[in-house]
């Protein structure tokens, strides 16, 4: 039978969170399920979100926390599976730095990129430590320059996510993560999005996609992280990937899978209460206007 074509666009260039897609491809699970999946690297979650919304890709694997703002501006996307349900936003600082909590950032310089999920939360987060932008310098830097700026020690901290950043920093500026959730921020992390139209039209295929991803992540969670690493390296032979960092990224990604509300639920299943907290936080940060409905942002219809 003819295979159904699906284009999946990832967030950035290869890193651990992509393991689910690449493993499934390597293992031939998509093909078995009758799917012909093309996996594209991306240029940031926001960019991928725009492309999926414009119909240039069927599915995006992005940070779901971006959805409320995107929808508020007219995007017609929904998350149909959420893997990283716990807030992974974090500030990287030197591993042996005395910094522990927000208030310790007084007088420090932090770098972040403008389209980062951090952006709407910055002021809210600073306030938790009694700070504002006059007391802590926030500099916006392009993703391409972000790491260089941080490793060249032009900044004290880098606002990113723990799973993506900490393993990479290990080689050049060993770092630890100060988590945003400690300051009360709730933010749904990586998951799959598509337009409402696609979700309606390709329900079958998308369900299979979710199912295969559940299988892939469960497989890795159950001790096969190295196979996930192999899959990424095989799928992206030219990227010269660092296996150790990839393994750590996968491990950390999985560590952020569950919130108390999703304990015991299938991988990818999203809890209404988590979204409520996230949206309240976004509203408090001024990123969405009151009157939101959580059901606009996600659906569990495709999660078995």
């Amino acid at each position: 039978t003819a295979q159904e074509k699906l284009t999946v666009r990832l967030d950035f260039s290869p890193w651990g969170v992509h393991a689910g897609m690449h493993l499934a491809k390597e293992k031939g699970w998509f093909k078995e399920a009758g799917l012909d999946v093309e996996v594209q690297d991306g240029r940031g979650s926001g960019n991928t979100l725009q492309l999926v919304n414009a119909g240039q890709a069927d599915v995006g694997q992005i940070q779901l926390g971006l959805l409320p703002q995107a929808r508020a501006n007219g995007a017609q996307l929904k998350g149909f599976a959420g893997f990283g349900r716990r807030t992974d936003l974090a500030v990287l600082v030197d591993k042996d730095s005395p910094i522990q909590k927000v208030s310790d950032f007084a007088g420090k310089t932090l770098v972040v990129f403008a389209a980062s999920p951090w952006a709407p939360y910055i002021d809210h987060w600073l306030k938790q430590g009694g700070l504002d932008r006059t007391k802590t310098t926030i500099t916006f830097v392009d993703p391409a320059a972000l790491w260089g700026t941080y490793t060249a020690k032009r900044a004290d901290g880098l606002m990113s996510t723990e799973p993506s950043a900490v393993p990479v920093a290990a080689a050049t500026r060993p770092s630890k993560a100060i988590l945003a959730e400690d300051a009360g921020i709730a933010y749904p992390s990586y998951g799959l999005v598509a337009t409402e139209k696609t979700i309606a039209a390709k329900k079958e295929a998308l369900s299979k996609l979710v199912e295969i991803q559940q299988k892939a992540w469960a497989y890795m969670r159950d001790g096969k992280i190295e196979e996930g690493v192999d899959a990424i390296v095989k799928q992206r032979p030219d990227a010269k990937l660092d296996r150790k960092a990839l393994a750590e990224q996968i491990r950390l990604t999985i560590a952020f899978f569950d919130t108390p509300a999703t304990k015991g639920k299938p991988i990818g299943w999203q809890a209404e209460s988590d979204w409520e907290v996230a949206l309240k936080g976004l509203e408090a940060a001024g990123a969405v206007k009151p009157g939101w409905k959580v059901s606009d942002y996600y659906t569990n219809d495709l999660v078995k």
Partner: protein
């Protein structure tokens, strides 16, 4: 004077007409506003926070003009060097060509790492983007001298400097202005690229922030302001050209029509 006002009016007219066409297009095709908002929406967005946008614009103008000014001066100096010295032609010219082929967007991160996140890397990027066309056009202009004009200077044993100042430079002005017109546009682009890569001010920064928030109308306010700003800067250079070159055929033909 009257013809200048006339000129400005007609440029504004063209821009206004383009806006109207765009508005009508949006009415008919109804693209989602996150992809392409209507001018009316963009305009409303601007009116919500005009002072914010104008502040960002002012910052960008400053960066642009600084980069452009440096590019004009440095470009001229390099062109003069290249025309006069075989050695400089071989070295500077070649390196400039190579350097210009490396996209600033790719170099920008290095600039930030080297120069920090202040205004310097932005000016540097604006300068680098603007420099090339100044040099290329100035070199052409400085070389395209009637040999008899050089003979005229040489028979009076004019110094190289006098030849440069009284013959080569005035003769090259039309070409130099063509280079400057391209340069002012690219200086603006360079300033924005610089603001993209680092910083917390300027229209480039405003675009990035708005993109991050999926606020397309706001992105378009910035894009339109950029277009407008670029147009104004370009026509300022063209105005300077007209004032400086009433003697040149390209301007004479221009003034009287064909």
């Amino acid at each position: 004077m009257r013809s200048t006002l006339h000129e400005i009016a007609s440029v504004l007219g063209v821009i206004a007409a383009a806006m109207v066409l765009w508005e009508i297009g949006v009415w008919i095709l109804k693209p989602p506003p996150i992809i392409l908002p209507a001018p009316s929406v963009i305009f409303a967005e601007f009116l919500q926070a005009p002072s914010y946008f104008l502040r960002q614009t002012a910052y960008t103008i400053y960066t642009t003009l600084a980069g452009f000014g440096l590019a004009a001066v440095l470009g001229l100096v390099l062109a003069i060097g290249i025309v006069h010295s075989r050695l400089l032609e071989k070295t500077v010219y070649t390196l400039l060509v190579a350097l210009n082929s490396v996209p600033k967007v790719a170099l920008a991160p290095l600039f930030v790492i080297w120069m920090g996140t202040g205004i310097e890397p932005k000016i540097a990027i604006a300068l680098m983007l603007a420099l090339f066309s100044v040099v290329i056009d100035a070199v052409l202009g400085l070389r395209s001298v009637d040999p008899d004009m050089l003979n005229l200077a040489r028979i009076s044993r004019a110094s190289q400097f006098a030849i440069l100042r009284k013959i080569r430079l005035p003769n090259a002005l039309p070409s130099i202005f063509a280079g400057l017109k391209v340069a002012i546009s690219f200086a603006l682009v360079g300033a924005i690229v610089g603001e993209f890569v680092a910083g917390s001010e300027g229209l480039g920064f405003a675009i990035l922030t708005a993109q991050g928030q999926f606020d397309t109308p706001r992105v378009f306010v910035c894009l339109l302001l950029l277009g407008l700003l670029g147009t104004v800067l370009f026509y300022l250079v063209e105005g300077a050209e007209r004032i400086s070159l009433p003697w040149h055929v390209s301007q004479r033909g221009h003034a009287s029509g064909h």
